[in-house]
């Protein structure tokens, strides 16, 4: 029973961090901070998938959601920066 309790406490901790990062991502004015916060949400979701015994899904979410998606956002932000400020 001790094992399950540790997982539940870890999941609650990760959940609180996840919700705080999601709120920061929406409320902040600068675009680069919003994009990085969305990447961190994806990373913590990957850890949550691992806690729920789903290693395939955790690998896919870490590679595609947290890595490649954030990269594409930064390509677009680079193009906008030259003409905005």
């Amino acid at each position: 029973m001790n094992n399950e309790l540790i997982y539940i406490i870890l999941a609650i901790g990760i959940g609180v961090l996840l919700i705080i990062m999601a709120i920061i991502s929406i409320l902040n004015e600068k675009l680069s901070i919003a994009v990085i916060a969305a990447g961190v949400v994806s990373l913590f979701a990957s850890i949550l998938f691992l806690l729920m015994s789903a290693p395939d899904v955790a690998m896919t979410e870490a590679a595609i959601g947290s890595g490649l998606s954030t990269l594409i956002f930064f390509y677009v932000l680079n193009k906008i920066k030259k003409y905005n400020d």
Binding site: P55, D56, M59, T60, A63, I64, G67, L68, L71, I72, Y75, V76, N78, K79
Partner: protein, 233 residues
């Protein structure tokens, strides 16, 4: 002011719906229905140790065909949208020079990343992994090489041929399933082999290798188009 009130109304209705769903939720205590059939007979019928791979490739292979089609459509639409004019093609990306650390590290890391990606999709039926994860890892390797040298020209013909041949081979294996074994995309066209070997589980390693190469080539193409779009004025 009225807009904020309406947004609050929509969100409050969502909270009400989710609260009702949460109250009447009972967690499952045992597998039932079709998951029980996959768990009991999956090892013997398909011969793969990874049951998620068995579900994605063997039992629901048609949905994987649909997903590969959607990715192909997305890559071709992005290739059409971000097409550069003739004058922009010849410009050079002006940059302050990439750092020495990135250039040296990329020369060591890129072959290792490709090797790891190929390992992940070839052993998709034994350990966690598979075609989509391996394809994403290969695409990260390609993006690292683009970042080390922003003016590097990726060979378009190589990516085109890899993607087309992988797609056509996937369809040919599916049609062979109709001719030799049970139905479309049945994996019993090769022998089932010994459980836990590399060459076991019928045609699953072959199918997943083709899917891994196709997904890797498509995502590299998308990222290359985004990189080239930095050139336009």
């Amino acid at each position: 002011m009225i807009k904020n009130f309406l947004i609050g109304l929509v969100l409050a209705s969502f909270v009400f719906m989710f609260y009702n769903l949460y109250i009447t939720y009972e967690p499952k205590t045992e597998l039932s229905g079709i998951a029980a059939h996959y768990a009991e007979k999956g090892g013997a019928e398909v011969g793969a140790a990874n049951l998620v791979t068995a579900v994605v490739v063997a039992y629901r292979g048609f949905d994987t065909l649909g997903e590969v089609t959607i990715l192909f459509l997305t890559a071709s639409i992005i290739g059409f949208f971000l097409k550069l004019s003739k004058k922009d093609e010849e410009r050079v990306i002006v940059h302050h020079g990439t750092s020495e650390l990135l250039i040296t590290a990329s020369q060591i890391l890129i072959p290792i990343i490709f090797l790891f990606g190929v390992y992940v999709f070839m052993n998709g039926h034994l350990t966690p992994g598979g075609g989509f994860q391996g394809g994403a890892i290969i695409a990260s390797g390609v993006v690292l090489s683009i970042m080390a040298n922003p003016n590097r020209e990726i060979n378009h013909h190589a990516i085109l041929w890899i993607e087309s041949i992988s797609g056509i081979s996937f369809i040919i294996i599916g049609v062979l399933g109709i001719a030799i074994a049970g139905g479309f995309l049945d994996m019993r066209i090769f022998g089932l082999g010994k459980f836990g070997d590399l060459f076991s589980a019928g045609a699953i390693p072959v199918i997943y290798s083709f899917i891994g190469l196709k997904v890797g080539a498509e995502i590299s193409n998308i990222l290359n188009k985004y990189q080239k779009s930095q050139k336009e004025s």
